[in-house]
Symmetry: C2
Subunit: 469 residues, 2 copies
């Protein structure tokens, strides 16, 4: 008998191998060090292995950890201040965003990571700034970070009016910093922390910055993560500065390949989406955020139909992938007036194996397979929200996880073989102090906004005063 | 100082009075017997009252209990067996539905009520059958039941093919039973249990049944609750049998008035919706269910614009009103490609005061007001999903409740002055046994479906076999 660190047994196991969800009845996984060493039935594995710790997952689903493919963790503390309005960014969000300082980035970021972790997210593709502080926090929290070293070329005043003032030297300096960060951090913590380059958006850097970014990415084998076609605002900037829509512009720069993780595609046409997909670009779909601020469902159906990989991101919304899976399935059914569109198993794949491939980690995570990183979660199916569990003749577990789960049913979270949450209790963070610190940081931001007379007539300030909030 | 039973203090109180959400900072409510006797600031009420029990709601929201205006509680146990398909009713749901027996209706129903109660639902407009057994369960559970005494005129074989076979005598007999049930139960438990008449749908009863239903409703002062324009299937039946679409048919029968709670309106045109609204009909909007099985967003915007009252119902989906509020806000933004549509405060009103008015209980529940029933909930705002709480300059509580709450943040639930849940623990039901019984009932249903060879090729049976479920 081989000895392993952890054996998880008796689960409703969804390996996400093959084309579907890869269900195994009475399934089990053996973990040694960071990796999965066996995936089979409980009967098989208990014959082959002894274990330091055996976790009985009877009545639980066992799944790969969920992947949040696009999130600004440090911004979640100002959630709820910019929705139900037109022009959310300029009219509601920007005044708060501009009051955010670097000094408390870690406490803000970790509150969001805590929320995601408790709901089964094991990998965060996170826009980090300042990057080094955030990376240290990822080391401590134990989750998998695919950190986006972000940079733009905005001048110091960051005014989002007219044609944005962009500064060539500042953009190059920030790109150089991002590259240095990538050099230091990519592959650290035995591969748990990886880095991608993040020009924020094509309208917020100059052409030469994108050219240089591609060169750096090629040299160091890094992916590029960028907001693409994220709104009419961006399109207008691109047309004014370059006379081209974003996708054509990026095509000309040689950007449309499998090195690019394209975020949103809110205003990409179906044809543009298909063209990007055929060229190997992957799509980060943020249903909750884009539905909320734009009332738009991005063209992920066309993107997938053309063979593209789609991952899901919570952006700056409710940081649970259960929320994203549900909204993605619903929104696309409504978009097409077709209940067969985006079935539960497809969105579950987007949050696991398809998402892993889309972010360039398909050989490491996203499914329960021998040799992969042991990133996995158990979900208690016995409560009112997910039960009764039926296996035959129709198995209802995946639909109920997608359409009914709250996220609070997640009980155990493991990343790279290490248990980060056990019985719903997070082991790597002090929950109360993380949340208290985040509250203080948010309050300080709000106080600074309130102190500025220029913000007295903001639409949601008025809504607060007249009793709608 | 006046002595009361309960004083709830120091809350972020949303009374839902006036046109908005009626926020009171450091708010408090005094409860005596079944009713609210004072609503004001904590400072005011602690000067006026002493109390048997004082609940410190610091860091919590205090809201009217949420209203689930359309739910089939007894059917929630087969959740997850009929979605992501076209023709969900005939192709996926009906085989399971037909295997449901009367004998375990209470255990099935109470599992759903438990789920709703834990997530802050205090009133359930519930299709009960057999009605008496369900009513007894409502007595025991302590929640507010607005019970729909449902009846149809289908012949015993209940085949949903061709023009449905309807039986005049059977329909009349079932209507008589429903009327007798209403006679016995309406207003019982000091008004906590009320009854409305429920012809299931215009295509499932004959014209004379509807005529007689209206007569009985008028005589006893009862409302009528009916699925209306719920799908193309219904429209086809109506055209074939009567040569009319549903709304015109009901208009001719004198049904379009404030006695009618119209459920769904899935395939009602905007003009039909507006016409119904102008005539005083109220609309039960079930966003999750209709989005899932039809990919459709019913015309509630047109209905409201014409002055109609809209309530929200979970139908047979995830039985939480947080889910319904969120999906309703999102779906309508997407329908209109307009993020200002259905802001958070509007959907919160639909789940509280507007919902109460729509179901005919606006003078009793739906807001925190002196003289109303003490149906209220507290929601812990301190966790990762709802924090950080900001008050100034933009109050983010209502948006976060709508767009981020899971439902598990509800801590206390009171109905008619009685605490049903305290610190998240339900006092009137044994959770584990309710859920275990529901599991056994669901398993028995599934076993009967599996045993029938006719169901071998059902689309989701195939999906289960080939690994997509």
């Amino acid at each position: 008998m081989e000895h392993v660190d952890t054996l998880i047994t008796h689960a409703h196991m969804f390996t996400m191998r093959g084309d579907g969800v890869g269900y195994v009845k009475d399934g089990a996984v053996a973990v040694k060090g960071q990796r999965i060493v066996a995936v089979d039935t409980t009967g098989e594995l208990t014959h082959r292995f002894t274990a330091e710790e055996t976790v009985d997952a009877t009545g639980h689903a066992l799944l790969p950890g969920l992947i949040d493919a696009h999130v600004h963790t440090a911004l979640a503390v100002i959630r709820g201040v910019a929705q139900d309005v037109r022009g959310w960014l300029e009219k509601a969000y920007w005044p708060f965003y501009k009051q955010i300082t670097d000094k408390d980035v870690v406490v803000r970021s970790m509150a969001c990571v805590l929320e995601g972790l408790k709901a089964g997210t094991t990998t965060f593709v996170d826009f980090v700034d300042p990057a080094a502080e955030c990376a240290e926090a990822y080391v401590a929290s134990g989750v998998r970070g695919r950190l986006v070293a972000q940079f733009n070329a905005l001048t110091a005043d960051e005014q989002l009016t007219g044609l944005y003032a962009l500064d060539q030297a500042a953009g190059h300096a920030r790109l150089a910093e991002a590259a240095a960060f990538a050099n230091t951090w990519n592959g650290s913590e035995e591969g748990r922390i990886t880095v991608v380059l993040g020009p924020v958006a094509p309208d917020l850097v100059l052409r030469e910055h994108l050219v240089e970014t591609k060169r750096v990415a090629d040299r160091h084998g890094l992916m590029i993560n960028m907001h693409v076609a994220q709104g009419d605002r961006e399109t207008a900037q691109m047309l004014q500065r370059y006379g081209q829509r974003t996708v054509a512009y990026l095509d000309e720069l040689g950007y449309l390949d499998d090195q690019l993780m394209a975020v949103h595609l809110t205003v990409a046409t179906e044809q543009e989406a298909e063209y990007m997909a055929r060229n190997g670009v992957s799509m980060m779909l943020c249903s909750s955020a884009i539905g909320l601020v734009d009332g738009v469902v991005p063209p992920s159906i066309a993107f997938r139909r053309a063979g593209g990989l789609v991952a899901l991101g919570s952006d700056n919304g409710a940081c649970t992938m259960f929320n994203e899976m549900r909204l993605t399935a619903y929104f696309n059914k409504i978009l097409k007036a077709d209940p067969t569109v985006m079935p539960a198993w497809e969105v579950m794949r987007m949050a696991t194996i398809d998402g892993a491939r889309a972010i360039g980690l398909g050989d490491q995570i996203g499914s329960l397979e021998v040799g992969k990183q042991a990133d996995l979660i158990t979900v208690d199916l016995s409560g009112a929200s997910l039960g009764p569990v039926l296996g035959e003749p129709v198995r209802n577990i995946i639909p109920n996880l997608v359409y009914s789960a709250r996220g609070t049913e997640v009980r155990m979270v493991m990343v790279a073989g290490r248990v980060l949450m056990r019985d719903g209790e997070v082991l790597t963070m002090d929950e109360r102090s993380v949340l208290d610190d985040a509250r203080d940081a948010a309050q300080a931001i709000a106080d600074r906004v309130a102190a500025n007379p220029a913000h007295r007539d903001l639409v949601l300030v008025s809504a607060t005063k007249d009793g709608r909030l």
